[in-house]
Assembly symmetry: C2
Homo-oligomer: 333 residues x 2
DNA sequence: CTGAAAGCGCTTACAG
DNA sequence: CTGAAAGCGCTTACAG
């Protein structure tokens, strides 16, 4: 049986002796159309495996059925697992609406690829997967009319955000440790300008306030962003004789554990370790590391859902904070 | 100054008192057009920041200016770093041609999202980032007319492939170890049906053939795909008193190192360890692990370049093998 | 060198 | 309930 390479709505209309309008209506399900006619068209479409051209549909409806997902492009991006899982969530939700993901990667100082995608009218909305304090991605999007949502919080006004409640989570974890009778807790992290780092720090402070205790400044190690300084921070913390080291994220934690191992300091007998973020890079450590657990896939799904709502013109909450879990493991016993 | 939300080629034409044809020609640079006219149009476009709608252009030219990148969606995907770096390469190359990446993730038993993207006519070509022996992604693409290339090798006929020369690389690494006088080398891996696993195995055998030595079957641990069996393999290898453990990939290596650490077997004094694949998950190990090093970004760039060529109708080589490096570290001294 | 017109494959008022 | 026609924003033979 001969079949055209790829048939169009006009072919279907001609074959059936109806108008393109009718075929279009049968497919979309919109507009009045006779039951028999619709079924006839649908049957033909099914049989001949006709799929309408989404590009053409998009042009007619001024839609692309694509959302742009902007991923950070850092030199050393250790938490890909987070982005991966987020992407799974986004894709799962997008799929339901027959939307696809246009992926791009931007460095924080060069958003030309994002700009081009927007200017080329290639997407209906965008998800920013990482936010920073001064964020040119957000500043750029803010002056465009196309809807966008950030994964992670932002201080800019009028930005729709989807995040986990990091502050509250860090408070709970720190509180838990304080309540176990630990007196001196070091906090090691990188001074990277991410909002989430701020939130984590706030949570840490919240816990001390709650317990009516004072944070010792010298136990706060917020160093510039590089491995060497984490190493020094660990030394510093050890010199102070802390009982527990709290790490800002999984990347820091991994490095801290490495340093401790090399220094023959054992966890948890010599010092406790806990992390404000969990990931697979910590999974195989002995002992397992006490940490905060967040559902990244859910984060992605929710961000996508909200964006899709915005595209549909539905009003959405400016900021949504998702729940978390504190998981106690062998590193704090 | 008033500006329309988004202006079209017709607006530009009207404002300048020329035809849409002329504007189009000025932008594309194709077709004869007067120098002055062109410059006038270009100046206006520049000043008013007009960007042609790529969707409309695409419809007219039957192009989408998108390529689909299909990423595997496994339960436990540890080598995201590889895909990340590959993606960087793809994006960098795609960018040059003003192409974008439509990302989708497929499990090996469910390619519905790929199918939809193709059937919806949303891309001009596709890059398959992982291949397996029996590959429904490839089988599906083979019966479509749209060009595609695989990252990694494939046994299917007529598939354009971009890969590193894994076989040769594994041969070199194994050979190097044998030449250092090591007699008994265990090979631990997972029996996962990936082509690359086959190639690695072949490389291992090649080295023994080259040295005129026989592979001991009992030192080959190709177990089903789960952590527990890797653990058993390590025990088995140790029981056989091997001098070196070769690991199929970075994921296996990580697990092997964990087991050794727990068993108080030290590297390299008790046993050597080397890996057929390197990644950041191995980066911080003490000691550093001898391994094969591949440039994943280059792999992505080359795959994209070839795909773009195919889209342009240029004939390309069916299979390209990129070079590699053997990196000797402290784990084999 | 320039433009009117048809076309890419859909959708959607507007008529009937 | 159904269709002719205009339109989405471009490109490209075809004329002139």
């Amino acid at each position: 049986m001969e079949e055209k390479e790829t048939l169009t709505i006009a072919d279907v209309a001609e074959a059936l002796g109806v108008s393109k309008t009718t075929v279009s209506r049968a497919i979309s399900g919109k507009g009045r159309i006779g039951k028999e006619t619709r079924e006839k068209v649908l049957a033909f479409i099914e049989e001949h495996n006709f799929k309408p051209n989404m590009i053409a549909k998009g042009l007619a409806k001024s839609k692309t059925y694509n959302i742009c997902v902007v991923m950070p492009r850092d030199y050393e991006m250790v938490d890909w697992n987070f982005f991966q899982t987020c992407l799974f969530g986004i894709q799962e939700r997008a799929q339901m609406a027959e939307y696809d993901i246009l992926l791009t990667m931007c460095r924080m100082d060069d958003i030309s690829s994002l700009e081009r995608i927007i200017d080329d009218h290639k997407v209906d909305g965008v998800i920013l997967m990482r936010t920073v304090l001064k964020d040119i991605q957000i500043e750029f999007m803010l002056q465009k009319t196309i809807p966008f949502v950030t994964i992670g919080s932002s201080n800019y006004k009028g930005v729709v955000q989807m995040d986990h409640n990091h502050r509250s989570a860090c408070r709970d974890l720190t509180l838990g440790i304080l309540k176990k009778g630990v007196k001196r807790i070091a906090l090691i992290g990188e001074d990277d300008g991410y909002i989430v780092t701020q939130s984590r720090l706030s949570g840490y402070f919240d816990a001390f306030v709650k317990m009516d205790r004072k944070v010792e400044d010298k136990l706060l190690f917020l160093s510039p962003e590089n491995h060497l300084s984490v190493d020094k921070s660990v030394e510093g913390a050890l010199a102070e004789g802390v009982e527990c080291i709290l790490c800002m994220d999984d990347s820091v934690t991994r490095r801290v554990l490495k340093v401790l191992r090399e220094s023959k300091v054992s966890v948890p007998s010599d010092v406790w370790v806990a992390s404000f973020f969990d990931s697979t890079i910590l999974a195989d450590n002995v002992p397992s590391i006490t940490s905060l657990s967040f559902d990244s896939k859910e984060l992605g799904m929710e961000a996508c859902r909200v964006l899709l709502d915005m595209i549909e013109g539905v009003t959405v909450a400016e900021r949504t904070l998702l729940p978390y879990e504190v998981v106690w493991k062998g590193s704090t016993i």
